[in-house]
């Protein structure tokens, strides 16, 4: 599903080039549940952003469903982005001025889904995540865990093939974290490919593969295989 070949990401400042990612080769198959780990500043988030089309690599090739992303136009990227990829963030990133219902509905608006169908889809999500009672509340009125549930619901409402999660449990306490991870596992079983970034060994345990990054280089891939 995803192939990264010799991906580099660097920032040029004056006469110095600072590398964030160096020579990353990575292959992700459909149905994978990958955890990216590593210390702060290792380039985990940057890698995730490149995978999610939010950022461009400085060098290297990126194939998404055999399409060369590095050659795609903005328009095509946006289309792929809309239909294939969902995001979950550490800070939830819900829009405070919209209700739970409206937040979940938002991706559908940009995909021009018809009003009736939209209603049905949002209702299904609310039902599935048990947040029907909260649909008219605004994000600041929810606990962190509840907000992240809404975040996950919003990410998967468009039935993406790939779910990218940047420290989805970083702001949650352990009980809430486990709940979210259970949810991810369930989604993975339904066929969604998941790539998550985390610091926590425990959360990493939910995945089936681990990529370890240090200073922008893959130091160890999938220790469980050994």
């Amino acid at each position: 599903m995803i192939k990264l070949k010799k991906i580099y990401k660097y920032i040029d400042k004056r006469f110095q080039r600072t590398f964030i990612l160096k020579d990353i080769d990575l292959e992700v198959k459909e149905g994978d549940f990958i955890t990216v780990m590593g210390p702060s500043g290792a380039g985990k988030s940057t890698l995730l952003n490149i995978l999610g089309f939010l950022d461009d690599a400085s060098e290297g090739e990126y194939f998404f469903l055999d399409e060369p992303v590095h050659n795609l136009t903005e328009k095509r990227k946006s289309d792929y982005h809309k239909s294939h990829i969902g995001f979950v963030f550490q800070a939830y990133h819900l829009i405070d001025e919209l209700t739970v219902y409206e937040n979940i509905e938002m991706p559908l608006l940009y995909r021009k889904v018809k009003s009736k169908k939209r209603k049905a889809m949002v209702a299904e999500m609310l039902d599935r995540f048990n947040i029907v009672a909260k649909k008219d509340l605004f994000p600041p009125q929810l606990s962190g865990g509840q907000q992240q549930v809404v975040g996950v619901a919003r990410a998967i409402i468009g039935s993406p093939k790939l779910l990218l999660a940047d420290e989805p449990t970083g702001n949650l306490h352990s009980e809430q974290s486990e709940e979210i991870m259970e949810m991810f596992t369930k989604l993975n079983k339904e066929g969604v490919t998941i790539i998550q970034v985390t610091h926590s060994e425990k959360m990493a345990g939910y995945g089936n593969r681990i990529v370890n990054l240090k200073d922008g280089v893959v130091v160890e891939e999938n220790p469980y295989d050994e």
Partner: protein, 821 residues
Amino acid sequence: MIKNYFKIALRNLFKHKVYSFINIFGLAVGIACCLLIGLYVQNEWSYDTFHSNSDRIYRAWTTETMEDGRELLNTSTPIPLRQALEEYIPEIEKSTYIFRFNNLVQAPERPDQQNEQMLVVHNDFFDIFDFELISGDRETMFQNPSSVVISRETAERFFGSDNPLQQTLSIRIDDEFQSFSVTGVLENAPSNSSLEYSILLPNENLDRLVGENSFNSWFNIFGPTYVLLAENAESDALDAKFQSMLQTVLGEELQSETNFAIGLQPLTDIHLNPEFPPNIASVSDPAYSYLLAAIALLILFIACVNFMTLSISKSASRAREVGIRKTMGAIRQHLMAQFWGEALMMTVLAITVGVAFSELLLPLFNDLSGTSLEFQLTLGSIGILAGLAILISLIAGIYPALILSGFRPVEVLKGHLNLSADKSFFRQSMVVLQFSLSIALIFGTITVHRQLSFMQNKNLGYQTGQVVVVESGLSAGPSVPMSELIQNGYQMRDLIANEISGAQGVESISVSTFSPVQVFGWFRIGFSDNQNQQQNLHANVIDAEFINTLGIEIIQGRNFSDVNPSDERRAMIVNQSLVDYFGWENPIGRRLPGPEFIDHEVIGVVEDFHYESLHTEIDPLAMTMNPEIIFSGINNIMLSNSPSPRFSFKLNTGNLSKTMASIQNVWETVSPGTPFNYTFVDQSLEAQYRQEQRLSRIVTTGSFFAIIIACLGLFGLASLMVLRRTKEIGVRKVLGATSSSIVLLVNKEFTKLVLIAFVIAVPVAWYFMSSWLQNFAYRIDIGLGIILLAGISALVVAWLTVSYQSVKATLVNPVDSLRSE
């Protein structure tokens, strides 16, 4: 989708109440100013366009080239012009002469006489112009010479609610009352008509108002001639025809000698073209409407800038939303539509409030500008409002729509958003711009005020307080020679003086042809001097009391004296300017250097005094008791006021109303039936500067609003800046900073901006105000005082605005501000 945008816009509106208020209120005030001024300007520009034939109506002008090469342009025309035009120029379909005069009018049932302004016109008047006839028969109403057409307002004044048709009005013409029968009532002239009327008389009455020889003379001018051209006639092509017509009617010799020429000025050009003498039409300087339009746009612009700067400052919070929406699949166009839509919503709200404001403020504005405008909600005005809404929202929403929508989601979601140097530079330059405009407006306001108070307090060279001028009402028709008029004035003065001698509070009484109340109205005479050079002077016919009554200072020689009978015949008093002009070293005993003047002698010189307004320099002036001295030697004379004598009373009273009542009593015994029309000199002087005062009031109000709006913006910016620096302020306080040092810290940033604005604004404002001051012969210097005052007041206002926020910030407990991070 739109519903979603709408919701978020509305919720943002309520969430940030202060900013929403600043935005909407500021914009609403800007729009209200714009609407009101727009209404005024539109009224100015639409003058006379309501006539269905407005593009074919013209007013004739004449030019005459004097011997010294000066060209005299006039819109008063000779009476035979109309006849000649009808006869020789086939393109002229209709034409009318308009003669204006004042005299007494009385309705039979009412004993009190009114001094009315009347127009004598041809029958064509009603065909050329579209003034609406309310009642009366168009075909027959002017057939009888003793018929009269009046305006609705006049009808109500004289006849109340009675039907005015066939009623009688007694009008005094050439000293006797004559009955006229009302045959028509016209609707009042619209507010944008340059012609106004109350009583219209048929042309046949003209021969009793002007001398008989005037009917054939091409060099006696009384009033304008208006013509209606045929539909496909071009006014430019007529010039050659006019030339040949003049050669026929004047004779070739006279025509080449005088270079007499005529031309046509379009009716719609009259109101805003001050280059032509105004005559009976109302004319205003187009510069004032441009100036007003500029002020309105400035205020609107300042309000739009607020909108922009505040949205930039708020962009930190909106940026996150941009990031989220982009990761959810929004593309840039979606966000541009959303932000521009939001701006549009705000603008529509602001326009609604603004329209309400302007509706409320309209009476105040009319008062301020001396107009009587009304709002009419037409399809056109709604279209203009809609256009305005789109324009403003495009400008005001330009930053969020273009810049914010381009943010990269990775950066904004990570909180890496740095409103980098260039963006804060943009924001700061906007503040600088706003304050430059405000300072320039303050500068203008102060300058205008100073100049006005300078004029009001300037020593005019005569006494202005407690002097009252009463019109004699003596008829000055063609049948009354000038000398007789003045003799009548003397007699009347003696009668009044006898009667009034017992009355308290009247110190002296004088009769003169003109008084300081008639600005621009004293005789302007021209004569050929001994070297055959053309010379021009001002002149007045006065009595021995005039100089005392007005407190004019004699610096050489003596005043006229009653005990010296030859004074009445051959004495002259001149002003210092005249002495300087002719370079006389010893003026006493000299005579005017014209060969034609009869025997006379200068017996005194007075200090220069401002008998005209301060717009003009003091010209040489000669005053005599005997009008023959002046009239004997001149080759031309100009006067803009009736030469009917005036009485000046010098009062010395603590009880003004009682003194005035006793003067009126005397008046009614001496001159029964003549209206008691009086003017206080100081009041009429103020009226001379009405246009400047109006300007001053409008500029003051405009700059007041501009500054309010700019301060609202500054207030919002300061509060956002303090918010951004809460943590910094908290840390500083923990480390021991005093409150005052923190206030200083915040204020320093804005002080810098105001100072930059000051440096930009001063030269620009200085340039404009100096050129405005050129209108006055006597003017103030724009000193350092005005410049500093403008700068300091802007700074003080800015400090007060910002300090509220910075003081608030220092009062926050640092524990709270640091925890919130």
